[in-house]
């Protein structure tokens, strides 16, 4: 599903160029649940952004579902994100003035799905994450765990091939953390490929495989 070959990325900080990724090789097969671990500054967030087509890479190759991802226009990247990818963020990133149901339906809106169908699908997904009763609540009226479950439902809305989660439990206590991880595992078992960036080893332990990053390089690929 995901194949990276020698992917490099550097940022300009002032006059200095900082190389964050120094040639990352990795593969994620369809249906896998992979954790990416590394200390802060290891480049794991940058890697996730590149995987999510949110950021461009400088060198190397990235193939998503067999397609080359180099030199995408912003429009094409947006289309691919819409069709292929779902995102779960550490800070949830729900739109504050939209209800849970509206947040979940948003990717479908950009996918030009009809209103009725969007509403139906959004309710279905909220039910799936156990929050149907909260459909009309604003994010500010939800707890952290609930927010993240809404965010997961939103990531699922457009039936993506891959879900990319950036520290999905980073803002949650241990009880809700395990709830969220259980939910992600459940979705994975239903066939969605999942890449989870984390620095917590007990979260990584729940995943099928752990890829360790260190100083912009893959240190270990874990057991396939």
């Amino acid at each position: 599903m995901i194949v990276l070959n020698g992917v490099t990325k550097s940022y300009l900080t002032g006059s200095q160029s900082l190389q964050v990724l120094k040639g990352v090789d990795l593969q994620v097969s369809a249906g896998e649940l992979v954790a990416i671990m590394g200390s802060s500054g290891s480049g794991k967030s940058t890697l996730l952004n590149i995987l999510g087509l949110l950021d461009a890479y400088d060198g190397g190759n990235y193939e998503l579902d067999g397609r080359d991802m180099s030199g995408l226009s912003e429009r094409r990247a947006a289309e691919l994100r819409r069709e292929m990818l779902g995102f779960v963020f550490q800070s949830f990133n729900l739109i504050p003035f939209k209800s849970a149901a509206e947040n979940v339906a948003l990717p479908l809106y950009y996918k030009k799905v009809a209103r009725k169908e969007r509403e139906h699908r959004s309710r279905q997904l909220l039910e799936r994450v156990g929050l149907l009763e909260w459909a009309h609540h604003l994010p500010s009226q939800l707890s952290g765990g609930q927010k993240q479950r809404v965010a997961i439902a939103r990531a699922l809305a457009a039936t993506p091939r891959v879900i990319l989660a950036d520290e999905p439990t980073g803002s949650l206590d241990s009880v809700t953390s395990s709830e969220v991880i259980d939910l992600l595992k459940e979705l994975n078992s239903e066939g969605t490929t999942m890449v989870v960036v984390t620095h917590e080893s007990d979260i990584a332990a729940e995943c099928g495989r752990t890829i360790r990053l260190r100083d912009g390089l893959v240190e270990s690929h874990g057991h396939v």
Partner: protein, 420 residues
């Protein structure tokens, strides 16, 4: 994004209502701008209408010409020769002038602050007495309230008939006396009253007009020994001809006919309602433009306010816009969203200002009407084209105001937005 869909509008409402007071304050400027345009243009229209009404509802395309002394010798005639118009000049103009609809010769006896010259039984009055032709009523219309106006058979038969103004009637007749068919003496000559008229003008002009008596031109000249003399010519200019063009043609023809030097500035006197009307219209057109420009500047300031708030909004919503991009919104989606928000805010504010403007003008108008104020300010109003122009200007300005915030929003990269 299609405008008839419900969602973009729901979303706009959500965005605006998130901070209703700020939204209201920011859009106040545009509403105020449109309000100002409508009020100032409406007021200048009211002033124009008032001033023109004060000039009397005279026919706009009329002019008057009379003979004076020449100031230049020409073709053997000395200077200071007194020019007198005659009926043959009228015929000549009717045949040769291309800019005129009608030519009416006119003569007058008595008039403003004259001696008593008209009697009926034991009553007498000082009136303006005129010798007229039927076409004069197209040049200076009056409302005939009883009987009829002068007609061609009166002229052909030199009938001794008279059409009197309502004030003449008041002076000479008692209230319930039958007027039509009665006799009056004008400088001792008997005339039969065949009609009564009142003026279309107001104020002193009307009083003077209604203190007049119209008699057939031919009868008048014979009765009062005028011979062939014409006091002055009243001209009705064709609708599509400018007043000064027509007057110039008539003067050229008359100067040739009367052997007056073509360059002589004297020789004839002229007074043109048409020219005055054109000058006034020019002044008021300029007035309206100035109003529109100043209102437009107010509108511009208002639109800057909206642009400013949109820039702030975009900044505040960096994260939200980034999330949208991550969820698959294309750059075009974002541009359309910001443009739509800016335009909607502008148009909504403008419409509210416009409604208030129209309402204010209407209130002022009905106040003036109920106060029966017939001063030089009356019936303030705006025309549909002014309203449409104002709305169009506003929409264009609103669209321009959206460009900068939209570009700013476009520069937001999802990664920047999501960096925590």
């Amino acid at each position: 994004m299609r405008w008839w869909e419900r969602d973009p509008w729901l979303e706009l409402a959500q965005v605006f209502l998130r901070n209703p007071f700020r939204t209201f304050l920011s859009s106040l400027g545009v509403g105020w701008g449109l309000f100002m345009i409508l009020i100032t243009v409406g007021a200048s229209n009211g002033l124009e209408e008032g001033v023109k009404a004060d000039m009397g509802n005279r026919v706009k395309n009329s002019a008057f010409i009379w003979g004076k002394s020449t100031s230049m010798a020409y073709k053997g005639y000395p200077r200071k020769r007194k020019i007198e118009l005659t009926s043959s000049d009228v015929e000549y103009l009717v045949e040769n002038a291309t800019t005129l609809q009608a030519v009416a010769p006119r003569n007058q006896l008595g008039g403003w602050r004259g001696e008593n010259n008209v009697t009926h039984d034991l009553k007498s009055a000082a009136c303006g007495v005129f010798g007229d032709v039927p076409v004069y009523k197209d040049i200076d219309p009056v409302i005939v309230t009883e009987g009829r106006y002068i007609n061609q058979r009166d002229l052909d038969d030199r009938r001794k008939v008279a059409v009197i103004g309502t004030r003449v009637r008041q002076s000479l007749f008692s209230r319930d006396e039958e007027v039509l068919g009665s006799h009056i003496q004008i400088q001792g000559v008997n005339f039969t009253v065949v009609g009564v008229f009142k003026s279309q003008q107001t104020g002193e002009d009307a009083e003077e007009s209604e203190n007049s008596i119209f008699t057939p031109y031919t009868t008048f000249n014979r009765a009062f020994h005028m011979g062939d003399k014409v006091g002055w010519l009243s001209l009705l200019i064709k609708e599509d001809v400018r007043g000064d063009t027509a007057v110039a043609e008539v003067l050229r023809l008359l100067k040739a006919q009367k052997s007056v030097h073509p360059e002589d500035p004297r020789g004839f006197g002229e007074w043109s309602m048409a020219e005055i009307h054109e000058e006034m219209s020019t002044v008021f057109r300029a007035f309206r433009w100035v109003s529109f420009v100043f209102g437009g500047l107010a509108l511009f300031a208002g639109v800057i306010g909206i642009m400013n708030i949109m820039l702030i909004t975009v900044k505040e919503r960096t994260r939200e816009l980034g999330v949208r991009r991550a969820l698959g919104a294309t750059p075009a989606n974002i541009v359309v969203q910001i443009m739509m928000e800016t335009l909607t805010l502008t148009i909504l504010a403008g419409l509210i200002g416009g409604i208030f403007g129209v309402f204010a003008l209407d209130t002022l108008d009905s106040f003036l009407v109920s106060a029966e104020d017939n001063g030089i300010f009356r019936h303030p109003h705006i025309t549909l084209d002014v309203l449409l122009n104002a709305l169009m200007t506003m929409t264009i300005l609103g669209a321009l105001a959206g460009v900068l915030p939209a570009l700013r929003a476009l520069r937001i990269q999802p990664v920047d937005a999501l960096r925590t």
